[in-house]
């Protein structure tokens, strides 16, 4: 089975690299990391990942702006995004949902929690795609 591709956009370099290490260690994922919002959007266009893990507090532009850019671009709007942040508040969660993030997770998360959530989002996307194909 082909490896699933994940893009991590997070300015906490150690965190992004640890998640990359853990996901790639399962042999099921190929992971790319970016530490700035603009670089993340660029990488999403080049890399076309299956899923993006996106932090909110980024040095150049915040995660919500990145999310908006991704969802407004025809090339990246279908890529599911999981917001993975240290910010825990209902308004933040609400904003992520209104900007069409697929899921929202609050750090710290275990590798198991993260993998389960990634699989859940990707499986959901496959089912939605199959339904769409059957209807057309």
């Amino acid at each position: 089975m082909a490896k699933r591709t994940v893009l991590i956009i997070d300015d906490e370099i150690s965190f992004a690299e640890m998640v990359k290490l853990n996901l790639e260690d399962t042999d099921d994922y190929e992971v790319r990391t970016e530490y700035k919002g603009a670089d993340g959007v660029k990488a999403a266009l080049e890399f076309a990942p299956d899923l993006i893990l996106l932090d909110i507090m980024l040095p150049d532009k915040d995660g919500f702006d990145v999310l908006k850019d991704l969802k407004e671009n025809d090339q990246t709007k279908a890529i599911p995004v999981i917001m993975l942040t240290a910010l825990k508040s209902d308004p933040v969660k609400f904003k992520a949902a209104t900007l069409s993030a697929e899921e929202f997770m609050v750090k710290p998360v275990t590798v198991r929690m993260l993998v389960e959530k990634i699989e859940e989002v990707l499986d959901r996307r496959i089912v939605e795609k199959m339904k769409k194909e059957n209807n057309s």
């Binding site: 825990k88 750090k107 710290p108």
Partner: protein
């Protein structure tokens, strides 16, 4: 009405207005204080949760690389995971505390709220064989309070009393009206338990943030500071003391009678 009566009435009205103004100023000051704490808590949360996230990912990685069947390695990893969880809970509880919403004041019967709060903890009271006695003075005036927050205070205090008497005991709840030194009618609520009491040194710090004598049981010490903050927001008073003539703790809350 005589001129003197008219003057007394005006003075009374003026005093009431001054009181309301003072209360409103105190509430505004409290709201500003909470806003600063909330901003601080969110900054702190970001700065602490990120390192915790890195550590947890690291611990998870190491878990796949070491011999987890070795009991000393397995338990070390579990201790580390528990410590991460505990630190995360401290931050989470602090965030919950700091994001406390403003008061939604209404006129309410403190006796009814006390009974409702006792009902909420009934299961714990029964499980620990705690006997409740209620002495609610008839005709006690209503109070101007946020019912949910005062219920939160009472539940917290009842559960503290239960924790102090895990093998059983008594809680006496008394509500009465009293006059302040300035002659104003106040409502007094007293909660007495017959547990072991609190060491005098700890009493002085009982309302401090993060002070707890139950850290090993997962308590982080925001319970009583939350209680005090809520009572302060109401412009009330709370006192915690060891009973002089018996074992146990007495908590006294004084609230202003409602308009």
């Amino acid at each position: 009405m005589t001129g003197e009566d008219d003057r007394d009435k005006k003075i009374e009205e003026l005093n009431k207005t001054i009181e309301m103004l003072k209360f409103s100023q105190a509430q505004q000051a409290q709201a500003e204080k909470m806003k600063i704490i909330d901003e601080f808590a969110h900054g702190l949360s970001h700065e602490v949760k990120n390192p915790l996230a890195i550590i947890l990912q690291g611990v998870d990685y190491l878990t796949t690389k070491v011999n987890m069947a070795d009991p000393s390695i397995g338990s070390t990893i579990e201790y580390m995971k528990d410590a991460i969880k505990r630190a995360d809970k401290v931050i989470g509880d602090f965030l919950d505390f700091s994001s406390m919403s403003p008061l939604e004041l209404e006129t309410a019967d403190l006796s009814a709220i006390t009974d409702n709060s006792l009902e909420l903890v009934r299961h714990q009271l029964e499980a620990h064989h705690i006997e409740i006695t209620r002495e609610f003075q008839p005709g006690v005036p209503l109070v101007m309070i946020d019912k949910n927050k005062i219920a939160q205070v009472l539940v917290n205090l009842f559960l503290n009393a239960v924790q102090a008497m895990p093998e059983g005991g008594k809680i006496a709840v008394k509500i009465s009206s009293v006059k302040s030194q300035a002659g104003k009618i106040m409502v007094k609520l007293e909660i007495d338990d017959n547990g072991p009491g609190i060491p005098e040194d700890d009493l002085l710090r009982a309302f401090d943030f993060f002070f707890t004598t139950k850290r090993s049981k997962g308590n982080i010490g925001l319970g009583l500071s939350t209680v005090k903050t809520i009572i302060d927001m109401h412009g009330g008073e709370i006192k915690l003391e060891n009973k002089k003539d018996d074992n146990g703790v007495k908590i006294t809350i004084i609230l202003k009678a409602g308009q």
